[in-house]
């Protein structure tokens, strides 16, 4: 598949929770090899959208297409094995397992799974190095890790499933400025390794620098889509979310 082709297409997706419309007719495309930002105020439906894509929620309307094939409503484990990996906003690690074993789980059951446990362990160890997870903490229980370590572990575990597409739900949330810079570099590195990346983020300075294109959600509906500079100057986005004009660097 060539660069620039549509990798994941969201088509008129609607999701209701009782009377609340969490997603309202949302459509956009994620292109092969791109780093797309998804922003919007709290409660605008960003995480709900990821949950729809990964099969945790079944949408009330619309379709999700991976490489042109429909994956709407498939079970989460099947979608994972088709090449969509994700991380959680609040890390959902297997807290009673060691850090390394968390990544091993992704390797054993994901898209690139093999029966050889030893090989999967080596792969997990390599991925922990790739995300720069401290070697001395590998055997620590995941429940005892710091936030930064947990975020890195979430990324390593998702990458262990061999995804073509990574959906990263606020990988920078709660980190300090130094850690944010490190995490931004890591996400770039992941994209450069050939993954298509969708990233949800609230840290505007980071997302404006990082994303090539941005989709904005507000109250469950898409209100804008475009390059960071266009988004930063979009009146609707400013009113709904940004509150003020922010500087977006020219590429």
């Amino acid at each position: 598949m060539a660069l620039g082709e549509v990798h994941l297409r969201i088509e008129n997706v609607t999701k209701r929770f009782g009377g609340l419309v969490a997603l309202k007719d949302v459509s956009f495309a994620l292109n092969k090899g791109e780093l797309l930002g998804l922003i919007g105020p709290n409660g605008s439906g960003k995480t709900t959208l990821i949950n729809v894509i990964t099969g945790i929620y079944r949408p009330d309307g619309g379709r999700v297409l991976l490489n042109g094939g429909e994956i709407t409503g498939l079970k989460p484990y099947k979608i994972c094995r088709m090449g969509i990996g994700r991380t959680y906003q609040i890390p959902r690690l297997f807290s009673a397992m060691t850090a390394l074993d968390n990544v091993v789980v992704g390797a054993i059951f994901g898209k690139g799974r093999k029966a050889d446990l030893g090989e999967m362990r080596r792969k997990a160890a390599e991925l922990l190095d790739f995300v720069d997870f401290p070697k001395l903490r590998r055997e620590e229980l995941a429940g005892k890790l710091t936030l930064m370590e947990s975020k890195k572990l979430e990324l390593a575990r998702a990458l262990a499933t061999d995804p073509e597409i990574l959906l990263a739900d606020e990988p920078l949330g709660g980190l300090n400025p130094v850690e944010i810079d490190e995490a931004v570099e890591l996400i770039r590195k992941i994209r450069d390794s050939g993954k298509t990346v969708l990233i949800i983020e609230h840290v505007m300075r980071a997302i404006m620098k990082l994303a090539e294109r941005i989709v904005v959600l507000s109250h469950g509906a898409k209100i804008a889509e475009g390059e960071p500079r266009e988004i930063a100057n979009d009146e609707k986005v400013i009113e709904a979310y940004l509150g003020e004009r922010i500087y977006a660097p020219s590429q």
């Binding site: 990964t54 945790i56 079970k75 989460p76 484990y77 994972c80 094995r81 994700r86 959680y88 959902r92 690690l93 297997f94 807290s95 009673a96 397992m97 060691t98 390394l100 074993d101 091993v104 789980v105 992704g106 054993i108 059951f109 994901g110 898209k111 799974r113 029966a115 446990l117 362990r121 160890a125 590998r138 055997e139 229980l141 429940g143 575990r157 998702a158 262990a160 499933t161």
Partner: protein, 326 residues
């Protein structure tokens, strides 16, 4: 929380500790040759409770789905043997294995329904299911003999029961160990920690839960089947006895759930404690037992094994090396 013991570098230690367990259990082949009567009977009952605790551990300890109704599989095994032996003249040994299979199949079917329910609701549902089966055993007289029960011909005696149940204990322990070291172990422990996350990382949780439930049920069924031909009489109240669930859960928790060693240590210590207390203080033994359980829950909630591991590690720090990792 107890560590998984799955990670790199621990295999050697785990293998050694498994060999120690196997060796210790193999030594139990000897007693019936030199002794018969009370102590052999006591040991056999300890084996039975321990095997049941280990089987419970495979589903509940590993995946976190606490089956309060697990005695239903003991009952299904017991009745399968009762029916096969009395109505179809099967050999008791063969019938015990078929009793395990009956429990296995029942668990697959019931698991499809029950394992959709999570947490305390699963625990209660499994308990209710077991009670339903008891009522069926009471009412379907043509098959089960109803409240009168089934009388089996005395074919095999204490020594045969002793060996059969020891073999069951060895087998369920070996399987529990093998599962823990396999990808299935990773799946079950991931489900225990966070089932939704486990699904997101490629785990077909329904498949692994049902498989664990069924394997677990198989051994509980075999134990129930052996019990049936040993006591030569079963009725709904002894076959579907909720005290058994209590014994399984308490033994496993006492020793340390999710570890292979835990249910073994817990089963031995707890059954023995119960017997000693019953003999010494027949009127107040349940009070003492209850009080000691509360103390264990209060001070070592993750079980004896985890505490032993800590002691071993502490000894390692001050220079005393014991290589076993349980």
């Amino acid at each position: 929380m107890p560590k998984l013991g799955l990670a790199v570098g621990r295999e050697g230690a785990m293998k050694r500790s498994l060999m120690l367990i196997a060796l210790a259990l193999t030594l139990f082949l000897i007693p019936p040759i030199v002794e018969k009567g009370y102590y052999i009977n006591l040991l056999a009952i300890i084996f039975m409770y321990t095997a049941l605790a280990q089987s419970w551990n495979i589903i509940s300890g590993y995946s976190g789905y606490w089956s309060f109704g697990h005695y239903m599989f003991f009952g299904i095994g017991a009745y399968a043997v009762g029916i096969l032996v009395t109505k179809l003249s099967f050999d008791a040994y063969l019938a015990s294995v078929l009793g395990g299979l009956a429990s296995f199949l029942a668990a697959v079917f019931l698991g499809l329904i029950l394992l959709r329910i999570k947490g305390p609701y699963f625990a209660i549902s499994s308990l209710v299911m077991a009670e339903i089966l008891k009522v069926i055993a009471i009412n379907e007289e043509w098959l089960t003999g109803g409240g009168n029960g089934l009388i089996l011909p005395p074919r095999y005696a204490l020594r045969e029961f002793y060996y059969a149940i020891l073999l069951t204990l060895l087998a369920v322990t070996a399987i529990a160990y093998a599962i823990k070291r396999s990808s299935m172990g990773y799946a079950l422990f991931a489900i225990r920690d966070d089932e939704t996350a486990a699904e997101t990382y490629g785990i077909n949780s329904t498949k692994y839960k049902i498989l664990a439930f069924a394997i677990s049920a198989f051994f509980a069924g075999v134990a129930g089947g052996c019990f049936a031909w040993f006591v030569t009489y079963i009725d709904p109240y002894s076959a579907f006895d909720s005290t058994l669930a209590l014994m399984m859960i308490v033994s496993a928790v006492f020793g340390g759930i999710g570890t292979v060693m835990g249910p073994i240590i817990g089963g031995f210590v707890f059954t023995l404690l119960m017997e000693v207390l019953w003999v010494s203080f027949p009127y107040v033994y349940l009070i003492i037992l209850g009080a000691s359980l509360i103390l264990v829950m209060r001070f070592i909630p993750d079980g004896i094994v985890e505490r032993l591991v800590q002691i071993v590690q502490l000894m390692g720090k001050v220079g005393i090396k014991i290589p076993a990792r349980i």
